[in-house]
Subunit: 581 residues, 2 copies
């Protein structure tokens, strides 16, 4: 196929668009791949649509290869199924809601768990029908508070979402693993640099959720990775390595000290070091007890929760919430303190908590045999050498403390460093939440119902176009991997002479006949303009039909490396076919 | 590719869905191609999606072949461009409107004229850039008052819409003709029976608009066709053949008669025939004058309009409105009569109209030299022998009278009969309406702006799946044309013996290796169930691997004709490859 620049609906821009911050946004607009139509809404121009379709094809081929079956749902969906799972409300302002002419409530689907669960329930009923994995490649809508970065974070975007339906937890694990393998194949074929990060701490059993993040300094998602292994995780998912428990024998007794005017950990440490207790204290020697309240879904009453963590660490609210999910968390109010007079503000210690039945969870570093300076449950007093496992026994541990660069990696290899990325895929073991909401059961061999367990898996198809551009460009323009390039070869006729033009046309036709997709720059523009556009557009191989023609050669340029070589005209078709296959 | 029925996400239904009235709706649901999700909202199950994609591919191939360039717009669009053309309001309740989180108005695009015009304006500016034709295959939304017939008339549907941009009227005509030819190729490839009907009377110059209607007794659109030629038209577009003018010489003089108590044409005719005027009168001899008022777009004042038509015909409001477009039309109110005392209700005649400056348009049958009985502009009186061209000269003619079966066809060949169809395509010379709204100009060779002229062209892609089903089925199920069938061959293993199963599996693999797409019924179900499902699903060729295998043959059945033949196992791959290519 030959695409002629003389008639192609493409006008490149010399200037970056005013609203563009990241390279992919700038270049995709400048090279005429996309145009902004509304906040977070973009049109795909011919070259952009080609790249999008090629990315989509890679995703489809790999989904089909894993045995997933493609179906397609509407984007305009009725409220009821989303009401049943409470997502109509939970989504808040991120959901586009509308009414039809009869006043019935509708939404524009952000994801389709409800519809897939209902559809499987409608078609299947025997255990023999399972497992099944269904997917769609479909336009999705999310009313982002701050659409930005072009097609990287739009409000209308193309997504592959798939859903697995299994009879057992082991089945779900297998479906999850199959998706994980498939995603690796997809992102490898697209030539992406990416990491797979744990998205939850694994409390639900193994890797219940992982994100595929494309590495990009401009990425919105932060994560941590190890300097010593390929470990990577969302901050919420980092598991704190617990030191080994220590022997209790011979540890000094706990002693109460008068510690007035120590409103902060720093002031407490300063005071302790003045007390001449025979050693030097740091904030890490103190045990800070943070009081919160939590409420389980559907519960009416709030419950007190105390979190004990080393005084040199803050509570990371996102990690805390992830640990407590699906319960709500709130800060204590004055009224709560008034109701619980054993809580001596600023001097709360484990003893009063445990004596009064307050649930008490500690940072994993607080293991048996560790000694702490902590509140004495008495105004102006702290206890020194309160030993975990001897003087108090918490109700368990919790991941709530902030993660810092330099912390040891959970796998024991290296330390953690922070990094940024763009989410390109997400795999998630949903479990039975949606099956419960819709009573999705299979009739078992014993005629008893088996509740189905689900997984949900997403790939941002349109976003991938921007991510590839983000990872693959230079100061001159885009550099597409062959797999998704809008053409195989960009032929530039560098001159106005009839012989050049005729040779360029013939070369394009020969290449097209050989099965290659060609962009042919047959415009009357100057060679300089054409070269610039070719670099900007980013087809991986550029062929220049120019002065060398007199000597029977054309120039073949590798867009990525910039390497040029002269190839004889009568060998160039074979040369390019070998290069592009 | 082999699709196994044992794992295919497909459950056929024995019963028609309760809400289905037309065959395509019943069969597409029963055969597991689509499922209803909401009023006018359907999901595509695996086989349905395959057919949809194949129809889409045919449309895309032909659009590309005509040189149209594919792009894609969002479905979620801002209000402003539609406000500029007044379509935000004009669409009324058919438009899905919504607000985003900031309260800004959006709509779900029903068609994209505005966006295409703006995009071309954004990219192009020289006359050298034109002509250009752009298209998209994209999901559209229309809040139908009565979504029905499954995917035939949904609220969310897939459409190919294209737009041509030309510098001249001749260019637009050429673009229009290119689309017409392309649509013929598309619908021919899909094996459809269809007619091309004139959609407007041609007042805008030639065939400014035509519809492609698939013939179907269940169709929602009525049209007329000629018994003597291939003429076909929407009722709105029928042009009434005018009889030749007659000589005025020797016609009797107009005379006023007392005609009390003649509130209807029938009572008037009865009275006339009692007056013994030397001839027999019929309703067709009377000239009925219907008073209306019209208002041009953007005008404030209404203007009186009188329509004169033979008394045996009613005004067809749709035809009237089509003739007066874009002006509004309304019935006169009492106040209007009070303001214009020369209008003597029941006795209005051409004279008072013309004397008082009322615009007066007549049916094309009212030619010079025709004599009429009509109102005398005086209570209880009519005039007989009022002659057009002698006693009154109307301001022009108008197509407003009803069209009847038996009327002569406009092309002079045969008479008109009514027929029904389903709109599958529409081609329309828009002219400069949208270019005017957005000042879409090209800079001409003389540096003066040239206002662009547009055409818009649509094909209902998802609807086509239903239309094909509507035209191609029998009492057993669907019968797909090869071009869009969900598979090439449906192989049924008719029995549980291992040898049958092994032979069926091998045959499917050999056929797949030969490049055919196979549905393999490898289920444990009875042969009867499998045969029924194969007929219902409608793949054009069914191969039964059954008892004949002992004699080295399988049965090859043509789904459409029902013909069966026995083919030797070692010849069947070649046989089927020849059959399906």
């Amino acid at each position: 196929m030959i695409t002629r620049m003389s008639s192609l609906f493409l006008r490149t821009l010399r200037e970056d668009p005013a609203d563009a911050e990241v390279p992919s946004h700038k270049l995709l607009v400048r090279a005429g791949y996309v145009r902004r139509v509304a906040p977070g809404g973009y049109s795909w121009l011919p070259l952009g649509l080609r790249v999008l379709r090629k990315v989509e094809r890679v995703v489809r081929e790999e989904m089909d290869a894993m045995g997933a079956q493609e179906i397609q749902f509407p984007a305009l969906l009725p409220r009821e199924p989303y009401e049943a799972t409470n997502r109509w409300t939970e989504y808040g302002p991120n959901l586009f809601r509308l009414k039809d002419r009869k006043g019935a409530d509708y939404l524009l689907g952000p994801t389709h768990e409800e519809l897939f669960a209902l559809t499987v329930k409608g078609e299947y009923n025997s255990y023999k029908d399972y497992p099944v994995t269904l997917y769609q490649i479909q336009t999705k809508y999310r009313d982002e508070a701050r659409p930005r970065a072009g097609i990287l974070r739009g409000r209308e975007f193309l997504m592959k979402d798939s859903y697995s339906f299994d009879l057992t937890d082991e089945g779900l694990s297998a479906s999850y693993q199959a998706h994980r393998d498939t995603y690796i194949r997809i992102f490898d074929r697209l030539g992406l640099d990416y990491v797979i990060v744990a998205a939850t701490s694994g409390a639900m059993g193994g890797s219940a959720s992982e994100e595929f993040l494309a590495e990009a300094v401009t990425g919105e998602d932060t994560f941590v990775r190890s300097t010593g292994s390929d470990y990577a995780a969302n901050v919420e998912a980092v598991v704190t390595p617990a030191p080994p428990a220590r022997p209790l024998d011979g540890l000094p007794e706990a002693r109460k000290h008068h510690t007035p005017d120590t409103p902060t950990i720093d002031s407490l440490v300063t005071l302790l070091n003045k007390l001449d207790l025979g050693r030097e204290f740091t904030a890490a020697d103190t045990l800070k007890n943070v009081l919160l309240k939590t409420r389980q879904p559907a519960a009416k009453e709030w419950e007190l929760l105390a979190i004990g963590l080393p005084g040199d660490r803050e509570v990371d609210l996102k990690r805390l919430e992830a640990s407590l999910e699906p319960a709500e968390v709130a800060i204590l109010e004055e009224a709560d303190f008034a109701k619980n007079p054993f809580l001596v503000k600023g001097y709360i210690g484990p003893r009063a908590l445990l004596d009064n039945g307050v649930r008490y969870l500690v940072d994993p570093r607080v293991v048996t045999g560790t000694s702490w300076v902590t509140g004495a449950d008495e105004r102006d007093h702290h206890v020194v050498d309160l030993v975990a496992g001897r003087d108090f026994t918490p109700d368990g541990t919790i991941e709530a403390a902030e993660v810092r660069e330099g912390d040891p990696a959970p796998d024991g290899k290296g330390t953690l460093v922070a990094a940024r990325g763009i989410e390109i895929g997400h795999i998630f073991q949903l479990g039975r939440k949606y099956a419960d909401a819709f009573a999705l059961d299979a009739l078992g061999p014993d005629s008893k119902p088996i509740r189905i367990t689900m997984g949900s898996y997403g790939v941002g198809v349109s976003r991938l176009v921007a991510v590839i551009a983000e990872q693959s460009h230079d100061e001159l323009g885009l550099i597409w991997p062959r797999q998704v390039a809008p053409a195989d070869v960009h032929v530039v006729i560098a001159g106005k002479e009839d012989t050049l033009r005729a040779a360029g046309e013939k070369l394009a036709e020969d290449l097209s006949a050989a099965g290659l997709d060609i962009i042919l720059d047959d415009r009357t523009a100057s060679p300089g303009v054409k070269f610039k556009d070719a670099e900007l557009v980013g087809v991986p191989t550029i062929v220049v039909v120019g002065r060398g023609l007199a000597n029977g050669v054309v120039e073949v340029k590798d867009r990525r490396t910039g390497e040029r070589e002269e190839v004889k005209v009568d060998e160039v078709v074979e040369h390019l076919r070998a290069l592009t296959s």
